[in-house]
Each structure stands twice: as C-alpha cells, then as structure tokens.
C-alpha cells in the first residue's frame, strides 16, 4: 500500500474507534487513536495474516499488551475483514463478542486475551519462543503503552527476550506521553525508554508513530535484525486525529457524548477531504 492509502485506512480505523466508543458510552479512545497508524500498518502491510483464516498456522501474531485500547484493535480487525465494521457498535455491550478488553476466545483475529497491564508482553515472548522451539519463521508483535512499562513484568519479559535473543519479537511502545493521572514523567517517569530497552539487549529504534515511512523502515529493520529482539519506541499524539482529544489525558478512558461525537467525526471527515485533495 502507498502511504496515501495507508493514511486513508488509518482514518477509517479512527472512525471505527470513535464510533465504537461513542456507542459503548465507555472505553479508551486516546491510546487507540495514538496507535491507529501502527495498527493499520501492522494489519494492512506488515503481518502475514489471513482474515478468512484467523488461526492460520504459521501466521504472524499480535498481542495488544495495552489491552484497554481494544477499540483500536477491533477497528483495524473489522476494517481488515475479520468481521463486519457495523459490529463495532456492539463494543462492550451485553452479549457482544467485542469485550471491553481483548478476549481470544470471543473475537476472530485476537491472538491473546489481555488487559491486565504488563502481562501481554510475556505472552508475546512465549509465542516468539514457541516459534524458535518449533523452528518456524513467524514473527510476533506486541504493543505496549508508555504508562504500562511502569509494570515490573514488562522488564522481566524484556530481560528474557534479550537474553534469549528473540529476534522474531518486535515490542512497540506507544509513547503518547500521557497516562490516567497525567504526564508519564510526572506520575512515575519511565524515561529514557530507549536506553532501558538497549540495556535489556534490544535493537532499539525511535520513530514518529504517525509517519508511515518511518514505521515501514523500523519494522523492516526489526525483521533484518538477526541477534536481538527489537523495540520500536514511537512518539505519538494521544487522541490523534480528533482535535479536542489530542494531548488530553482526560480522553484516556472516556466516551464522547453525541455532540462531541459529531465534532470528532467532522474532524475525521476533514482529514478524509484533505487526503483526497492531496491525491
């Protein structure tokens, strides 16, 4: 896909995020929107997957360690064809297969249940280890929040991945700079994030998480790395694409009301128009 096509897809993914969270009257739009470009690249470009065969043997795996951004994962899965986009409005509702946090038994395309922070990355390490044990060449991607890395288990998992040279593992940190209680550096500063992963024997790549050229190159470099797991630290804007949500910690876990929803969708429609003009 061209960058222009990817941008359009990412905008559709963002619409799905905003629509599902609005419909649920709850959920986590901020960190879903910040990661929407990465979600889009992973599912439309990077990963070896088949929406018609979600459990395809030898597929690449994805674990959403920051499981609260399930609206982002669900939206990209729906847009990629795993299930109907219309179903996104069932998010968090009784009887829906789109649970508040990812559930691998309910949702096609979800490779691991997650949501309790710090745990998904360990499961991703286990998947990468399974590939090594079975001498298979699938890759494993996991997305973490920058607040999430305050959890000690993240560093247990990283120490193991570095020690075992799991070069088939790609850890992505969504560095949008905000967590529930405020700026990450004010709550409990995790910086420098890149130096920490370097110290745990990772191949570390810093990028702008909204630049598809940089995303493409980072993930290609990760694939090319033969002796280390890769950590992609991506600088992003929390709430990206929706004017009033951008860089506002208050939109970490809050749904837009009807009026706000209309504004959000108008913002995303304006991005659509811009993208079309650019073509």
């Amino acid at each position: 896909m061209t960058n222009s096509e990817l941008k359009q897809k990412a905008n559709e993914v963002r619409k799905g995020i905003v629509t599902s969270v609005h419909s649920a009257k709850a959920g986590h739009p901020g960190g879903s929107l910040s990661a929407a470009d990465m979600f889009t690249f992973l599912y439309f470009e990077e990963m070896n997957i088949d929406p018609k065969n979600p459990k395809m043997e030898g597929r690449d795996r994805f674990v959403l360690s920051k499981g609260h951004t399930a609206p982002g994962l669900y939206s990209v899965l729906a847009n990629r064809g795993y299930f109907p986009v219309e179903d996104l409005t069932t998010l968090r509702k009784l009887g829906s297969y789109l649970q508040g946090h990812p559930c691998m038994q309910e949702t096609p395309g979800v490779d691991m249940s997650s949501g309790s922070l710090g745990q998904g990355v360990s499961a991703a390490v286990g998947m990468a280890l399974a590939a090594k044990l079975d001498k298979k060449d699938y890759r494993v991607y996991t997305l973490l929040g920058d607040g999430e890395i305050q959890e000690g288990q993240v560093w247990e998992a990283s120490m193991f991945a570095g020690a075992h040279k799991l070069n088939n593992l790609c850890v992505i940190v969504d560095n949008n700079g905000l967590q529930i209680d405020g700026k990450i550096e004010d709550v409990c500063c995790p910086y420098p994030i890149d130096k920490k992963f370097e110290a745990f024997n990772f191949n570390v790549i810093n990028i702008d998480g909204h630049d598809f050229d940089q995303i493409r190159k980072a993930l290609a470099d990760a694939r090319a790395c033969t002796d280390k797991p890769t950590a992609v630290i991506m600088k992003t804007t929390k709430g990206k694409g929706v004017s009033f949500m951008e860089n506002n910690a208050g939109w970490h876990g809050k749904a837009p009301n009807d009026e706000e929803y209309a504004t959000a969708m108008a913002d995303l429609a304006a991005i659509d128009a811009q993208l079309k003009e650019g073509n």
Binding site: V121, S122, A128, A130
Partner: protein, 310 residues
C-alpha cells in the same frame, strides 16, 4: 507400604516418563529446577526445558504464549510463587483464555519445614479453586502424583497440581488403584465418622482411622485428590451415612478442601463438618514431621480432634 518418597520427586520423574508420549510438553522453571525436581527433566530433555530466571509472573505469561502456539507447558515453582505471587497472571493469562497450561507447584504447605512461614504456602488451594475452569489436584503419594501428571497432560485446559517437599509413604500401591480426575478414592469403610483428606494428610487420615478403630470407632476414609471438580457423590453418600464429617488438609481451613466439602454438603446434605488444617495462622521453621505434629495434622492429632468432636 513402600519406601517414602516426596511427591515433588514423583513430579520430576513423571515429566520424564511422559516426555515421549507428549512431544509438545515443555517445562518452565524459575531458577528452582533443582528443588522442584524438574531438573530430572532438564537433564533428559535440555531442549524442552526453559529456565526463566527468578521471574515467576513472566514465566506464567510465557507459558500462556507457548500454549497458544500448541505447546503444553508445565510451569514449575514453589506453591507460594506459582499460586501466590502469580495469582493474577494465572487468572488472567491462563484461566480467562482457558489455556492448556499445567502448573506444577511444589513445596506446598508446612512440610516445607525449616524455611519457615514465608515459603510455606497454605493458601494455594483456596486461590486456585476460585478460578473458573481451573482443575486442582493434590496427590497423596508417589503413585498418585505420577498418575496425576499424566492425567493432566491428557486433558485440555489449565490444571494446578500441588506437590510436597517432604518424603511421604506410598499408600496407593494396590492392584485396584486407578486415578481419575474428579473421582475420590474410598480407602476404608466405616459407619461412625467420615474422614475426608487430601495430599499428604491422606496418610494421617488412615493412621487416625486405625487409632479410632482401637477405640471401637469405624471411619469411612476418603481420599479427595481432586479438589476441583470435587467428587460430590462420594462426599454426600458418606456424609449421609455417618452424619459426622472431618476434613484434613495441609492448608488453611479457609478456602481449601474443608471449604469445598462444606460448599457441597451445605447445598446437598447439611452435615456438621469439622475442618482440620491450619487454623488461620502462619507456619514456622522446624522439621516437617515436628510441624505436622505441632499443628495436629498427623494421625494422632487428627484422631484427637475427632475424638474431641464426637
């Protein structure tokens, strides 16, 4: 009765014995392979043993990830860490997705001995049995421990197996013995009292029954090796017959075998139940046998409690 052997030894031996039949079996440790006896497996199958270092929560998550890719991981550590430290990892990363991970928890209960209270886990059965879909097995001796490991591998889904550090007598060496998950074993028939025991306390229950017999009291003795799912039929039948039930376990009286039996009987056949176990207290350092005696979990202690309550 055969020689004494610790069920952790049986665990290590059983893993080796099952390795060829279950090619997807892998064993994970957190720097305790020597103590959990999985070192036996590590020696025989080094490529299928993964030492995760001293990081039990990560080990549990790795096991979950391995299971999603078709492996059957056995996670090994002391009960204190495998169930205690790890509780939420077991619940959310293994229990909720109902993954095919087996947890081999050794050094359970006070028979850890000299290491003392920090390492004597008397709460693990309570923690594990609250997780939906979790099977909880507490073998009583070498024969049962080995059978339990194989049975756990044969079933799909998470299983918690509890093993001990101290050598215990072999009590199931009879030709009729067969192990089935969820099926209690009647060891003695009697009409006066019911003694339901699990793990190493099954031997204490048998000894207590002998002491009671000398005093003319005949006990039904039931070995409940599977705490969950509980064999309700055998419990209800015996309770209805004797009307007096005693449970014996090397575990807190809160949440363990005793509680499981009470849950069952209060709903099906209300019966007075006396729970013999750790009475809402921590253990302490000392030789295993001395601790078992001090806390009233040996045959004499169990008999004494029964006599005081009938």
């Amino acid at each position: 009765m055969g020689d004494k052997i610790a069920t952790r030894e049986s665990y290590g031996n059983a893993l080796v014995a099952c390795a060829e039949d279950f090619p997807n079996l892998v064993v994970l440790d957190a720097d305790l392979a020597g103590a959990t006896k999985t070192g036996t497996f590590k020696k025989a199958y080094p490529d299928r043993h993964i030492d995760c270092g001293i990081a039990e929560c990560n080990m549990t998550g790795i096991a979950a990830g391995l299971a999603t890719c078709g492996k059957i991981p056995f996670v090994s550590s002391f009960a204190m860490f495998a169930a205690g430290r790890n509780f939420e990892q077991v619940r959310n990363s293994i229990g909720y997705p109902h993954l095919n991970v087996k947890i081999g928890a050794t050094h359970a209960g006070i028979t850890v001995g000299e290491d003392g209270a920090t390492h004597q886990c008397n709460e693990d059965i309570a923690l594990m049995r609250t997780i939906p879909g979790m099977t909880v097995i507490v073998p009583s001796d070498d024969i049962e421990a080995k059978a339990a490991v194989r049975a756990a591998l044969e079933m799909n889904g998470p299983v918690y197996l509890r093993f001990g550090r101290a050598a215990v007598p072999v009590i199931n060496d009879n030709p009729d013995y067969r192990f089935e998950i969820g099926k209690g074993v009647k060891l003695k028939d009697g009409n006066d009292v019911t003694i339901i025991a699990t793990g190493i306390c099954v031997d204490s229950a048998l000894n207590a029954a002998s002491i009671l017999e000398e005093k003319g009291i005949k006990a039904d003795v039931i070995n409940i090796h599977t705490i969950k799912p509980l064999d309700e039929k055998i419990v209800i039948e015996s309770a209805k017959k004797t009307g007096k039930v005693f449970t014996v376990e090397e575990h807190s009286v809160i949440g363990g075998l005793g509680s499981a039996v009470c849950d069952c009987l209060s709903a099906n056949a209300p019966t007075k139940v006396v729970k013999i176990g750790m009475n809402d207290c921590f253990g302490e350092s000392g030789p295993a046998a001395a601790l078992v005696a001090k806390y009233g979990l040996d045959g004499e202690g169990v008999a004494k409690t029964i006599l005081a309550n009938i």
